[in-house]
Amino acid sequence: MIRRTSLQALGGLVAIVLAGPAAAELFAIGNAEVHTVGSAGVLEGATVLVRNGHIEAVGIDVAVPDGARRIDAGGRPLTPGLIVARSQLGLKEIDGVEETNDVASTQKRYSAALDVVDALNPRSVLLPVNRIAGVTRALTAPDSTKGGSLIAGQGAIISLAGTLAADGQWIVRPQAAMFAALGEQGRELAGGRPAALAALREAFEEARSGGARLADGLSGDAQLSPLDVAALRRLLQREMPLVLGAERASDIVAALKLADDYGLQLIICGGAEAHLVASELASRGVPVLLDPSRNLPAHFETLHVRRDAVAVLAKAGVRFAFIDASEFGSHNARNLRQLAGIAAAHGMSRDAALAAITLQPAEILGLSTVLGSIEPGKIADLVLWDGDPLEVTSAATAVWIDGQAMPMVSRQTLLRDRYLKRPAKDGAAAPATAR
């Protein structure tokens, strides 16, 4: 069941920057257990042929052209690169060091014009840490944190290749989505749940009128700037989706009504109680970004969260992708596959769980024509694993982004190598020594 989201219809409207690799390289990864996450399913002993950063062929009997570099996967699993559907990668370095943290604007109700691209840092230490663990693309989002904005601004889709990206094009798609908050976060910023809804409606009305009040000079205390209005008009024209934070079932219903009223393309983020309104979500084709590991009522708005919610959503036909709902979703975006493993341990098929961190986020973000699966014509974001890709004891052994092999080095591996004494020749482990 693959439904196209209307995001994919946006190709003509939004410039999608999908870099071609600098080097015209031809290589084949052979003898792999290829998890295509596409219609071909899992292919054992298969070959993936990559040319110029794109997948040219996938299959058991792929003819490898002369001159192609050959890589033997040794029968190990090869998957698409993992896609993080919401993060702050490149936008914050250390939560507790304010100078490095640009996830939220402050002191404004509306920050629709805010564009994370203006702050994104391709040299973030977080990128290699997650890249060598198989994460290849991420949506980086502004956040409606405490004291921030009800409408937080526009996120961007990035490549975790960062400065290593071909042609330096690591920002795959700027202005990829607008972010705003309902629920407990929205009520805190607006002064109540109804106030949050009213504030969003007010902003949309103003944008729909083309900033008429602003133009009429009636906006001495306007909280929307002309740039905000312009950004919101693009939202209302469905040039980008609205990612609304909502957990409680009633908040999700309110979000659906808002989207109906303004013809918005909606994505629910959080969705702790989405399973309670699964049919409403399914009938509108509204997808959900959710953390499948949550099972505790950490907030009153998540009282009904349950670990098997994804089964209910899947049965109802709701599309979903997995995110890490904790505060560690950026530094440890790499643990997305552990969350997928937990979902698999609670009844989901492993293939579907892998799809929820590859093809499904690509579908929801409108990237699935080029990313999310190992199929001919798609970009060669590939990860070779030393075991079951969802298993916590497994690790990535090779990562390609745009067909480029990423160096398997991060600041963490450098620290490890500085302090770790390798085992002595007799096989006994030698202790690390304080330096």
């Binding site: 530094h331 552990q338 341990a345 202790p431 304080a434």
Partner: protein, 475 residues
């Protein structure tokens, strides 16, 4: 476990705390004002047959039977006679000691996390040795049941880390209860929670405009508190010899710190950076107390030898990092490197801890990540060794290794039967026994939650489900 230790446990279960044997002479206030009322209900004997047993002692026993009887591990061996006992065919499934989390805030920072339940930090002064975390525990925290489903049988609930000295922590059995005393681990000593680094100086210096505002202010704060406590202890010890004249005035904070100096209360310290840990080891030596474990110590790998030399455990995450500057230098091999250190004093002591209501539900997965990272770095780590990070080592750090933490005849029947190797994301705790009482059976889940708070959260669903029979195991 020795017979005397067992007798000791029984005595302790009544009133006295740490009054057992000569090693721990009675504290000033000998009677525990908050005694445990935990009593394991009667349980019938259970024979678990044909299990892959990870004992917690670095050994793995294939196709082995374990008999639980009278709340204890009664026998371990092959071909044990069933007699009239209930038999569980393990069929090769893994059997391990119950998981012990040395760092939890369940009950004191429960779910839901709202102001009314936010009881973990008495952040009103940088040293609050007079407060006890147990007085903040809300036994209805749904997190306890979720942790039990992850195989956690014992946990230490600590105050938060806002303060240099945050107060007393407590070891509890993870059983459903209405009062926290019904959870108190009989005989376990209380702990003292201390904190290094950014948190105290942020809470007081940056946000409060008072000391400590710096790392040096932090250290001055610990030393001032223990200098005062040394004098307090001397005064009381002198008076206690013949009890002549009026007793010195009591000070609840000093009671706690004096008992730390006497060894009746065990120090558990939040500390990330290697240099700060080394400083704290010096402070501990200056005043004559021992730090059982550095918690969250993301830089422990930089001083693994020093930790082994001082026999200080590292209570660690598998991979958390970067949320503040002192957590910037984390590496995935931290646990394995601390574990691999060797000293004349003994081996390194690594513990996987959670500090998190989600993480506590999957400590086995976190240990699996740490084990795999160590192996990839060339450190040979077996499953039977790594299970000790979740069982024997935390029991050692909490001072309860004599009664739990390993599968040995005579020890408490705190046992988990896993659906497969616990070092897997797909593993479930199939059955969990605490003192021989089956507290979780995945095949027969109670349709109603243990927590009163969760009961009827969705009344429409609840009325459709017939109420479960009372289990009768909550006094």
């Amino acid at each position: 476990m020795t017979r005397s230790a067992r007798a000791c446990l029984a005595a302790l279960a009544t009133v006295l705390l740490a009054a057992c044997g000569d090693r721990h002479p009675a504290p000033i206030a000998a009677a525990d004002p908050f005694p445990s009322t935990y009593r394991a209900p009667e349980s019938s004997a259970v024979l678990i047959r044909g299990a892959t047993v990870l004992t917690g002692l670095d050994t793995r026993l294939d196709d082995t039977d374990v008999l639980l009887s009278d709340g204890r591990i009664a026998a371990i061996g092959k071909g044990l006679a069933a007699g009239g006992t209930t038999v569980i065919e393990a069929g090769g499934r893994y059997l391990t000691p119950g998981i012990i989390d040395v760092h939890s805030h369940l009950g004191v920072y429960p779910a839901p996390g709202v102001w009314a339940t936010s009881d973990g930090n008495e952040a009103t002064a940088p040293t609050t040795a007079e407060v006890w975390a147990e007085h903040s525990i809300w036994p209805q925290d749904p997190g306890f049941q979720a942790a039990r489903a992850g195989g956690v049988t014992t946990l230490q609930v600590l105050p938060g880390s806002a303060n240099l000295i945050g107060g007393r922590g407590v070891v509890i059995k993870n059983v459903p209860a209405v009062t926290y005393q019904q959870m108190l681990f009989p005989g376990a000593r209380r702990s003292l929670k201390m904190a290094c680094g950014e948190n105290p100086k942020r809470v007081y210096g940056k946000n409060g405009g008072r000391s400590p505002a710096t790392g040096m202010g932090n250290v001055a704060g610990y030393r001032a508190a223990f200098a005062k406590a040394s004098g307090y202890r001397a005064k009381w010890d002198a008076w206690s010899k013949d009890k002549k004249g009026p007793s010195p005035d009591r000070d609840l904070a000093m009671d706690t710190l004096a008992d730390v100096l006497r060894g009746h209360i065990l120090v558990q310290m939040h500390c990330y950076r290697a240099d700060q840990m080394a400083t704290m080891l010096d402070v501990a030596r200056e005043f004559g107390f021992k730090i059982q474990a550095f918690h969250h110590a993301v830089e422990a790998y930089k001083i693994a030898d020093l930790l082994a030399d001082t026999q200080t455990c590292g209570a660690l995450w598998a991979d958390w990092w970067g949320f503040k500057l002192e957590a910037w230098d984390a590496i995935n091999e931290n646990i394995a490197i601390v574990d691999a250190a060797r000293s004349d004093q003994g081996p390194g002591c690594a513990i996987v801890h959670s500090d998190d209501p989600d993480g506590i539900q999957r400590l086995n997965q976190e240990a699996a990540k740490a084990m795999a990272a160590g192996r990839r770095a060339g450190l040979p780590i077996s499953e039977e060794h790594a299970i000790g990070w979740l069982t024997a080592n935390p029991a050692k750090a909490l001072g309860i290794l004599e009664t739990t933490g390993t599968l040995e005849v005579g020890k408490a029947a705190d046992v988990v039967l896993w659906s497969r190797s616990p070092f897997s994301v797909y593993a479930h705790a199939d059955q969990v026994w605490i003192d021989g009482v089956l507290r979780l059976d995945r095949a027969r889940p109670n349709p109603q939650p243990d927590s009163d708070f969760m009961l009827g959260a969705d009344v429409d669903e609840a009325v459709a489900t017939p109420p479960a029979a009372a289990t009768g195991d909550t006094p």
